[in-house]
């Protein structure tokens, strides 16, 4: 038993898991507020990461400026998607809405490949020191940054939903659109805001992943990992999504550990979340914290 490797992988899992959690959180946000299952979540990460990379390398914008510009861009980008593409789809059958997001993901991923190429581009170095020694464990600075950013975003999201007025409006809309409307909440702007926040949060996650691993088309894989995480946590639970993300991240790395130490099947960590997904759907389809009134037929 290789304890050192196990601990390293668990730390890894925690870091990746919180990132999954953040992405799943923004996925659930859209689902909760607008009832849209967003298959283009990964592409929002991708767009955010590329925009930031572009600003930093082509225009030599410093990071502390480039990041806010990226976030503002993604905020507007999210609103634009909602208004131009998703708003005409309100009231359409769920198949059409899902297909639109799938088509969006195709368009964006192809567009990004076209504009920036298919090769992995390293992100400009942001931190001077590569590693920090914590309790005898070498932890990369970017990992700590990633963890800190993720936790900060989760706390921010919790604050937004629990304490801010707009978050309350959003929760009301998620609960019942008609009642919310009759209380003077603009459902349209709530929808747009849900996409905007989701895009922004995803972009932060995208930039964090880009700083750690560089930018490439493979980044959108995070959008697929969202499904195991969100289903595990419960499709309409923001907190559940975070927990689901962390569990999926840990599961991946435990699978990786078992694979490399005992099983030697190869690439087990990539596929383990999907087996988990099927099992969850079989035994507990509403997830850990989801609403249980999913119509079982």
């Amino acid at each position: 038993m290789n304890t050192q490797l196990l601990i390293q992988l668990l730390v890894n899992g925690l870091v990746v898991g919180t990132l999954y959690g953040v992405v799943a959180m923004s996925f659930v946000l859209i689902y909760k507020a607008t009832q849209v299952v967003n298959f283009a979540q990964g592409e929002l990460l991708l767009v955010g990461a590329w925009v930031c990379w572009w600003l930093l390398t082509k225009y030599q914008v410093p990071f502390y400026l480039g990041m806010p510009i990226t976030l503002v861009f993604m905020f507007l980008f999210g609103i634009a998607i909602q208004i131009v593409i998703l708003r005409p789809m309100i009231g359409e059958p769920i198949i059409s809405v899902i297909m639109v997001t799938i088509a969006l993901s195709t368009v964006f991923s192809a567009l990004m490949k076209w504009m920036f190429g298919v090769n992995l581009q390293p992100f400009p170095r942001i931190f001077q020191t590569q590693n920090i020694n914590i309790l005898g464990l070498q932890v990369q600075t970017v990992y700590l940054m990633s963890l800190a950013v993720s936790v900060a975003m989760m706390i921010g999201m919790a604050w937004f939903f629990r304490l801010s007025k707009y978050g309350l409006a959003m929760r009301a809309t998620a609960f019942n659109q008609q009642v919310a409307q009759s209380l003077g909440i603009s459902v349209k702007s709530v929808f747009a805001m849900a996409w905007a926040i989701s895009a922004t949060v995803s972009a932060v996650a995208g930039v964090v992943v880009a700083v750690v691993n560089g930018v490439s088309a493979g980044l959108s894989a995070y959008g697929v990992k969202v499904f195991p995480a969100a289903i595990l946590g419960g499709l309409d639970s923001v907190g559940g999504a975070v927990l689901g993300g962390i569990i999926i991240g840990l599961l991946e790395n435990v699978a990786h550990f078992l694979d490399s130490e005992y099983l030697h099947w190869g690439n087990l960590y990539e596929i383990a979340p999907f087996y988990a997904l099927i099992i969850i759907l079989m035994i507990k389809p509403y997830g850990l914290f989801g609403t249980k009134d999913i119509e079982r037929v």
Binding site: V37, F39, I85, P88, M89, E92, P93, I94, I95, S96, I98, M99, V100, I102, A103, L104, S105, T106, V107, S109, A110, L111, K113, W114, V224, F227, P228, I231, L235, W265, G266, N267, E270, I271, F274, Y275, L277, I278, L281, M282, P285, I294, E295, R296, V297
Partner: protein
């Protein structure tokens, strides 16, 4: 959702036989038979390139038809269709290589095996809302692709598996011209089968599940049964299509069964028309011809300013991908009933010409 058929006002059907007939009029039946006869002549008229396109339309048309059963008629969503298509391809190659079963029997057998695999993934989700089936099929897509890469005994791993050419009673069919008739026969049989299914009790149950599942359940339709059934049927046709694809190319490699192919299948049925059988074939033709026409366009535009701006030569693959996405969105927003609906409108227009009102 697409209306089933456009029946002129005043044309009432007075018996069940009339209501469930495959062809509403004798003319339409004769037109269909004439059409099939004309297509039969195609190999002797068209060039080899056009013939290969026709074969592709046929093969993908069968698989897309399966997807249309589950998406168009039952209102469930499947995002893993290409994986089942691939599974059918590998199964047929495996059966003929390993057990020496004649290819003639391998193709339907591959369909049956694929249907069984499809049911494994469909069963947990068929009990739940359509959304969950979408996510389960997404998982199936990745799990099956991983399985193809892993199971070397089955697929040959990184080395492409070879598939026997089609033979019937010991007579080998070689070349596109002969294979075309095999595909055509399968297309006709599959499309007739599905047409027949939809007018039957089971088919109407599927449509009822799509239109209002609660009412359907109250009417005594077993939702789980019909959702599972439609999913199994979809996998069956995907398997048959995949098997035909395998024996057409005579090699099956791991490439080309990814999620992008699944999206293309979805695009085919959306463009053709959800819940339209002939529309499926139109949509398939559209999606097969789209990349080809973009290729022609890029050749035609070579060295023009547009070419220099877009960098067509290097980026044609990305532009094609984008075109697929854009076309799906355009159709969903502007023509959600697809080409089949447009076709019906054109027919209605000419029927009444020149007095359109």
């Amino acid at each position: 959702m697409a209306g089933q058929t456009l029946i002129p006002a005043g044309d009432f059907r007075t018996s069940y036989a009339a209501d469930t007939t495959v062809f509403p009029t004798t003319t339409s039946r004769n037109a269909m038979i004439l059409g099939i006869v004309l297509v039969c002549l195609a190999p002797h008229i068209v060039s080899a390139y056009v013939l290969s396109l026709l074969i592709q339309i046929g093969i993908f048309g069968i698989a897309a038809l399966g997807l249309n059963i589950v998406v168009g008629f039952t209102g469930q969503i499947s995002i893993g269709h290409a994986a089942f298509f691939g599974f059918g391809a590998f199964t047929s190659a495996y059966l003929s290589n390993r057990f020496g079963i004649p290819v003639f029997f391998c193709i339907p057998l591959a369909g049956v095996v694929t249907a069984a695999v499809g049911l494994i993934f469909g069963l947990p989700a068929a009990r739940l809302k359509g959304l969950y089936l979408a996510i389960a099929t997404l998982a199936a897509q990745y799990i099956l692709l991983d399985f193809f890469a892993r199971a070397e005994w089955f697929t040959g791993g990184s080395v492409p598996a070879s598939a026997e050419p089609f033979s019937i009673f010991g007579y080998m069919l070689r070349g596109d011209k002969q294979y075309f008739y095999v595909v055509l026969a399968y297309v006709v049989v599959c499309y007739l089968l599905v047409t027949n299914l939809i007018r039957s009790r089971d088919g109407r149950a599927l449509v009822a599940v799509r239109d209002h599942y609660l009412s359907a359940e109250i009417m005594g339709i077993n939702l789980t049964k019909y959702r599972t059934l439609s999913f199994g049927l979809a996998a069956f046709f995907a398997g048959v299509g995949g098997a035909l694809y395998a024996h057409y190319n005579q090699v099956v490699s791991n490439e080309g069964f990814g999620i992008d192919r699944s999206i293309i299948f979805l695009a085919m049925i959306i463009i053709g028309g959800l819940g339209s059988i002939m529309g499926t074939l139109m949509g398939t033709a559209f999606m097969v011809l789209l990349p080809e026409s973009m290729e022609w366009l890029s050749v035609a535009l070579r060295d023009s300013p547009i070419d220099q701006f877009l960098g067509l030569k290097n980026n044609i693959a990305f532009l094609r991908e984008m075109a697929i996405g854009v076309i799906i969105i355009v159709f969903l927003v502007f023509e959600p009933d697809g080409l089949a609906h447009r076709w019906r409108q054109i027919k209605a227009y000419w029927k009444l010409y020149p007095f359109s009102h």
